[in-house]
């Protein structure tokens, strides 16, 4: 009997390994087939920081953007292999597999039966957050497995040992560190053993102080308001949860609540994290574990339940499965279609060849990291600018340049801010910035002699503005 169970587990592990390989490699594969740069999103900021570390050792100040780097231990690890995309992918895969093993361990610790664990992990692997975390490397790709091992050790009573990964979590990702300590506190409260938490809290307090001083963390950025569209991948969020899996997890919560009342704290934490997910991506990443657990439980419940109507059972299970797969495929499609595109990449290379290194590039903030990484040029605004004290001023300037049809005013602003290059993409013309073809800056570019178009390929345009009028 034991042997059969082991075989079942081994088969499951092999199945998960293959699935992880497919799921994590698909976005990069699709991008590679479209001749796009394989990475996407904010990874290019991390790569630039890692390269700066590799060149200069310990760095704090960003010479290109003339501000402090938003840096943590992850960038130092990344600097070891930031020049090798394949190693980054393999490392992501490795961390993804480690995370699955730890997640399974955690479920086993809480005596979740094999089948429920299997479906929870299956849904977890197919979840957009798993793909987001491990298809490329991010700081959370490290902090999440560390968080899981720290919790496993803590739950098993290895308090001192659990503090070691906790220390590293604080150096990778402060919000995940706070969440880990919170979960330890909840567990201690359930077990009514507060002395257990003392050692991790002392060690973690020290590590937190070190992290804050070493990397100059700004605690305000831990919680940011998310819009509704940014929470659900079904509405186009880059890091988000699929509405359908959330719905399934709520069903799981209801069934589990009816079955075992002792899941009170787990259920409360689920609800709390769900609400906080609207304000913090870091919490959403942790919430994904809870969600997948409840969704897996619900799925297993549907599979094992003695259905009154067999026909309905078959269709319902098929529908659930199709919905989960559909969410995953839609998300993979979103990642493979995301920027930077091939056309944009070519424009960045062209921009890099322009010998005006001290002049700024003006474009939408979502392209900032790409320009900085590929073209080695300073941008007027990027996604990190949001955390600067003078962001309101920068944003005001940006709005004025984008939407003003007053040539004198725009010329003055561009000169004042030392902006020489203006990068325009098809997406900016189609709603990202402008809704009309003759709006603001677009009108000026087409109808004024002050600007000259130096690049126009695949819909991407680069305009140059003279140093003097």
């Amino acid at each position: 009997m034991k042997k059969r169970y082991s075989m079942k587990k081994v088969s499951a592990i092999i199945f998960f390994l293959i699935l992880v390989l497919i799921i994590l490699l698909l976005p990069s594969l699709f991008r590679y087939m479209q001749e796009k740069p394989v990475f996407f999103d904010s990874v290019y900021y991390d790569l630039r920081v890692a390269e700066a570390i590799r060149e200069n050792g310990f760095v704090v100040f960003d010479d290109l953007q003339e501000r402090r780097f938003d840096i943590n231990l992850f960038h130092y690890v990344l600097s070891l292999f930031s020049n090798n995309n394949l190693v980054i992918q393999i490392f992501g895969l490795f961390l993804g597999i480690i995370t699955i093993i730890f997640y399974w361990q955690l479920l086993t610790f809480f005596e979740v039966d094999f089948d429920s664990s299997f479906f929870s992990i299956l849904i977890f692997i197919l979840s957009p957050i798993f793909i987001y975390l491990f298809a490329v490397l991010r700081s959370s790709s490290f902090s999440i497995p560390l968080m899981l091992i720290s919790l496993i050790l803590f739950f098993k009573g290895r308090r001192v040992l659990s503090s070691l990964p906790l220390l590293f979590i604080s150096l990778f990702n402060i919000p995940h560190f706070i969440i880990t300590v919170f979960l330890m506190l909840v567990f201690s409260h359930v077990k009514k053993n507060y002395s257990k938490i003392l050692i991790p809290i002392i060690i973690s307090s020290v590590s937190l102080i070190i992290a804050v001083f070493a990397f100059s963390y700004n605690p305000i950025i831990i919680f940011l308001k998310n819009s509704f569209e940014n929470v659900f991948t079904s509405f186009g969020a880059m890091i988000g949860i699929p509405v359908f899996v959330l719905f399934l997890s709520v069903i799981g919560l209801i069934f589990l609540w009816n079955k075992k009342r002792e899941f009170l704290f787990l259920s409360l934490t689920f609800v709390l994290f769900l609400l906080l997910s609207f304000f913090s991506k870091s919490i959403m990443i942790v919430f994904n574990f809870f969600m997948c657990f409840f969704a897996g439980f619900a799925f297993n419940f549907f599979m094992k339940r003695k259905w009154a109507v067999v026909l309905v059972r078959k269709f319902t299970i098929l529908l659930i499965f199709c919905s989960i797969i559909f969410s995953t495929l839609v998300y993979i499609d979103v990642l493979s279609e995301s920027q930077p595109s091939k056309g944009l990449f070519n424009a960045f290379i062209f921009l890099k060849e322009q010998n005006f290194n001290e002049d700024l590039v003006f474009t939408h903030e979502s392209y900032g990291f790409f320009v900085e990484y590929f073209s080695s040029k300073e941008t007027f605004i990027d996604e990190k600018s949001r955390f600067l004290n003078d962001y309101a001023v920068l944003d005001n300037f940006t709005q004025q340049i984008f939407y003003s049809k007053d040539l004198d005013k725009t010329n003055l602003l561009l000169l004042e801010k030392n902006i020489r290059f203006i990068l325009i993409t098809p997406e900016m013309k189609e709603g990202l910035v402008w809704k009309k073809p003759d709006a603001g800056l677009l009108f000026l570019l087409e109808n004024s002699d002050s600007f000259s178009k130096i690049y126009n390929l695949d819909g991407v345009e680069i305009w140059v503005h003279p140093k003097q009028i």
Partner: protein, 491 residues
């Protein structure tokens, strides 16, 4: 009353209701303004076998997303009869079919044939159903499907009904996205059963779960693109803010009484009170679930006002039937049992006064809500005398007329889903009809490449275009009660 007699009466009610609907519908050969979208779809399916998902005329070129079953059913019949007849008759037949569903549901709840017949008659003449008989509405099919699904779920202990409910559910999902309403109703039904401590059968949970998953999944797949473009605002179909409040208008109790009739309202809400406070009847809770979901969705403005009232009306009639049965049974137990029949007669007379007469009055007005001969002549003139790629500006209400009769591109119509600049277009078009300054108007007309302005003065307060008569930029090329101006200038 014997089953056979009841069947004869029921058939008579159906035929009478259908006759009245068709009588008023055929008072005009035309259709409501929005119906021409349906006509285009049906004619296109008839010609090509596919609906128009990618339309080069609407909004100057756009993509439509909708479940296509309703259009396919209409086009199927159009192979035998002319499209105009099919589109005129079939939606009215569909609406009238709900009479049978109401009878069956009512009989399931009350076990009284007379009361069920009264309920069937009441449901046939709810005033809101006669609001615009020339409107070719997908809800005409949605409503009977809804009612038959509810009936089949209530009778689902019989396997045939269960299979039928699944089949009808698939049809509903393929008909319209308002199938979401079914989920809310079912979930509230489960909630009420739980709160009242009633037993929830396994098969009920299973059917409801299946419905929920099916409706969620299908709509997420179908509206994926719209969800990405509009986010959660897809619920409001991207309708411009200025007209949103007309579609999802405030809950006005007087309007509700007029459109639903006070008899179903009073007796319906008495049934709600009774089922919560005295005898807890499961089938009634199902209907209460749907009444509650209609009220909540109307209150939160998550459902179109007219659609909400259509569902609310029929559900209240079913609840009213339960109340009538309670009063009827009570009066039968008194010393004068004949009073029970008198009670039903009084209810019938009151219904005739409060609902039937308003329904006929609304039906009589239907012929005024269609385009006039002058409008159609002007549009046919445009078809014959303008370049094929011309863009015609009209009010949003007239947009489908432009694409159907004139076969030309419009600037906007009433279908806003996936239109990213819907608000801007709506404001610009309103501005073009309103302002007196030529330069600003020409700028806007150039923006949408408008070649002709269609002016009917039927929608909006403007009686003329002030800038058009005194300018070289505009030539009056068609002059009757409808005016068509050609645009010359460019800025």
């Amino acid at each position: 009353m014997k089953k056979f007699t009841a069947s004869i009466f029921l058939l008579a009610i159906f035929l009478f209701a259908l006759f009245l609907r068709l009588f008023f519908a055929f008072q005009s050969p035309e259709f409501s303004y929005d119906s021409y979208f349906v006509l285009r779809q049906v004619e296109h399916i008839k010609e090509t076998g596919r609906p128009i998902f990618s339309d080069s005329l609407s909004f100057g070129g756009r993509v439509f997303i909708f479940p296509p079953l309703f259009y396919y059913i209409l086009s199927l019949f159009s192979f035998v009869f002319s499209v105009e007849y099919v589109v005129k008759i079939l939606p009215n037949v569909f609406y009238s079919l709900s009479i049978f569903a109401v009878y069956l549901l009512s009989f399931h709840i009350t076990k009284k044939r007379v009361i069920s017949l009264l309920a069937a008659f009441s449901s046939a003449f709810i005033p809101i159903y006669f609001l615009n008989l020339n409107n070719v509405s997908v809800y005409s099919l949605v409503l009977p499907l809804f009612l038959f699904i509810i009936y089949c779920v209530l009778k689902s202990e019989d396997k045939n009904y269960l299979n039928l409910s699944l089949f009808l559910l698939i049809l509903l999902v393929l008909t319209h996205s308002s199938s979401f309403f079914l989920i809310f109703g079912f979930l509230l039904f489960l909630f009420f059963l739980k709160v009242e401590g009633l037993v929830i059968e396994d098969r009920e949970i299973e059917i409801i779960l299946f419905s929920t998953f099916l409706i969620f999944w299908f709509n997420f797949v179908l509206f994926k693109q719209a969800l990405f473009v509009h986010g959660p605002f897809v619920i409001w179909q991207n309708i411009p803010l200025q007209i949103l409040k007309n579609f999802f208008s405030e809950f006005n109790i007087l309007e509700v009484i007029y459109y639903l009739g006070f008899i179903p309202l009073i007796f319906g809400f008495y049934a709600v009170f009774h089922v919560f406070s005295q005898i807890k009847k499961k089938s009634v809770f199902m209907i209460v679930g749907f009444v509650t979901s209609s009220l909540i969705l109307l209150w939160l403005k998550l459902i179109r006002f007219r659609l909400g009232l259509i569902f609310l009306g029929v559900m209240l009639v079913l609840l009213a039937a339960y109340s009538w049965k309670l009063f009827y049974s009570y009066l039968r137990k008194t010393k004068v049992p004949k009073n029970a029949n008198v009670f039903l007669i009084i209810v019938f007379i009151l219904f005739i006064i409060s609902s039937f007469i308003p329904a006929i009055s609304l039906a009589n007005n239907s012929s005024k809500l269609v385009p006039s001969d002058e409008e159609i002549n002007a549009l046919l003139w445009i078809e014959e005398n303008t370049p094929k790629d011309a863009v015609i500006l009209s009010r949003p209400e007239e947009g489908h007329l432009i694409t159907y009769f004139a076969k030309r591109k419009n600037v906007l119509d009433s279908n806003y889903l996936l239109i990213t600049d819907a608000n801007q277009r709506f404001m610009d078009v309103n501005m073009i009809y309103k302002v007196r300054f030529k330069i600003e108007v020409v700028r806007k007309l150039n923006k949408y490449d408008v070649d002709y302005i269609y002016f009917s003065s039927k929608f909006g307060p403007e009686t003329k275009l002030f800038y058009a008569d005194s300018s070289d930029c505009f030539t009056l090329v068609y002059n009757s009660s409808i005016k068509v101006y050609e645009v010359h200038c460019e800025i």
